[in-house]
């Protein structure tokens, strides 16, 4: 679309049809990244990330895409990983300053709005580029219960019951919509999240992947942590069996269970 060329060089320029192309291009960067999803349920929030392993030389567990922002807040990212890491530091400082100033842990809506404001600031000037990442924030505390917010490169934060970012977000959203998460517990949802990641993972285009799962809720006493090994193994087992739809190639790929 060469018509964009005159209006897409800086974030400080609108196009005649009212778009800021730099922000849209930033969202494209997110769509090129592998999928991350999160589901808010009755008693917590579960995160799942499809972490593509680009080289066999990588140490297992490196390049984590799920961060701890505060004791009770987790953050899963998609897009340019370096941008995401820098934003996780911003989120950590916001949460920490809030705790220091007001004596209690930051409510997630406020944190999401603060980090979103920061992201938005980078969409206003030609001297900088927008952040090329989206991220999902989830938390659990006794006052507000489970909360889930997603921030995209335009600097908008919305609250969700379930959301997906990255290359397979459409397929993932379709699967998430099938869940009645308001009636499910974290232990049930973690298995479904694993299953969804396995479903949307493209075996042909992307080969090896690691599944990162984390949760925060009543089950963890309000602390955000990676799910324990036994829960993880059970979830992966459930995921592999579930998606084995019985077709020939599927049975070969996964049913070594």
């Amino acid at each position: 679309l060469s018509s964009n060329r005159r209006y897409d060089l800086s974030a400080s320029t609108f196009s005649p049809d009212g778009r800021v192309f730099q922000v849209e291009y930033a969202m494209k960067a997110v769509e090129n990244s592998s999928t991350a999803i999160a589901v808010r349920c009755k008693d917590g929030v579960v995160f799942g990330v499809e972490k593509l392993v680009l080289s066999k030389l990588y140490e297992e567990g490196s390049n984590k895409r799920i961060f701890n922002v505060d004791k009770h807040v987790g953050m899963a990212v998609a897009g340019l990983l370096a941008d995401a890491r820098s934003l996780s530091e911003v989120a950590r400082e916001e949460a920490s300053n809030f705790r220091s100033n007001y004596g209690y842990q930051v409510p997630l809506k406020h944190l999401a709005d603060r980090v979103a404001m920061y992201v938005h600031a980078y969409t206003l000037y030609s001297a900088v580029r927008p952040f090329g990442c989206s991220f999902i924030l989830g938390s659990y505390d006794l006052d507000d219960g489970p909360q889930l917010y997603m921030v995209d490169p335009s600097g908008i934060a919305y609250g969700y019951w379930g959301c997906a970012i990255g290359k397979a977000k459409q397929a993932a959203k379709t699967e998430i919509e099938k869940l009645s998460m308001k009636d499910m517990t974290c232990r049930e949802v973690v298995k479904e999240v694993a299953k969804i990641i396995y479903i949307v993972h493209d075996e042909v285009k992307d080969k090896a992947f690691e599944l990162d799962l984390s949760w925060v809720g009543e089950v963890t006493n309000g602390r955000h942590e990676l799910v324990p090994k036994d829960v993880r193994e059970e979830a992966e087992k459930y995921a592999k069996v579930k998606i084995c739809c019985g077709t020939f190639w599927c049975v070969r790929q996964f049913c070594g269970v």
Binding site: N101, Y102, G103, D143
Partner: protein, 214 residues
């Protein structure tokens, strides 16, 4: 005269206290302001400052410093409350005061009792001391008059008092302090804060309980 007062000690001529009871808190103070311990400059000032609908503070130390800090903290608390779209927590009010007292400890001589009710933790009492220490207590007393009532309050406080028992406790304590401390006196100001709101009770000097005063 005022220099003497500053050098002599940092408690102002005052008695202030706060206590939790079942369902709320009561914060109370005397109403005397003195100049250097020699002249009563005001008989009926209200030392209980409302920082929000269900959060009150009382000041100790230099009144000028305390007022300046309270004004700043009130502003910050209000802004915080608007941003959170919810009534502020008592711990938030106390934390803001603490931050100001601690980071400006070289210039300030101000301490506070913060008491209030919020939906998350119910009734709470916090003390911010001169250097900026913040602690939560079931009840607390401060000011020059408080030295005379440590024994009484320690002996008579019980957890989970009713509102009436709480009122009696505070009234008696203030009366005893005002009876012995020459720079505390006047009327007793009490504010009862519960889920329903804040209620101001004033007990004039002649209606205060008497303890062998004849």
């Amino acid at each position: 005269m005022e220099h003497d007062a500053a050098v002599r000690g940092v408690s102002t001529g005052t008695t202030i206290m706060a206590v939790t009871f079942d369902g709320g808190v009561i914060i109370g103070s005397d109403s005397r302001a003195t100049r250097g311990g020699e002249e009563v400059s005001s008989k009926t000032i209200n030392k209980l400052v409302q920082v929000h609908q269900r959060i009150f503070c009382c000041m100790a130390g230099s009144l000028a410093d305390a007022q300046a800090v309270l004004k700043t903290a009130s502003f910050q608390l209000n802004l915080h409350s608007v941003q959170m779209e919810a009534p502020p927590r008592v711990i938030a009010a106390a934390s803001l005061l603490r931050k100001l007292c601690y980071h400006n400890k070289d210039e300030l001589q101000a301490g506070f009792i913060t008491a209030g009710w919020d939906p998350q933790k119910g009734p709470q009492v916090y003390v911010v001391s001169l250097g900026g220490m913040l602690i939560s207590q079931p009840f607390t007393i401060a000011g020059s008059g408080s030295t005379y009532i440590y024994g009484y309050t320690d002996a008579k406080y019980r957890p989970h008092m009713t509102r009436e028992e709480g009122l009696q406790f505070v009234t008696n304590a203030l009366a005893l302090a005002m009876g012995r401390d020459n720079v505390s006196g006047g009327v007793a100001h009490l504010v009862v804060i519960t889920e329903e709101g804040a209620e101001h009770v004033v007990i004039p000097g002649n209606k205060l309980p008497k303890f062998h005063d004849e």
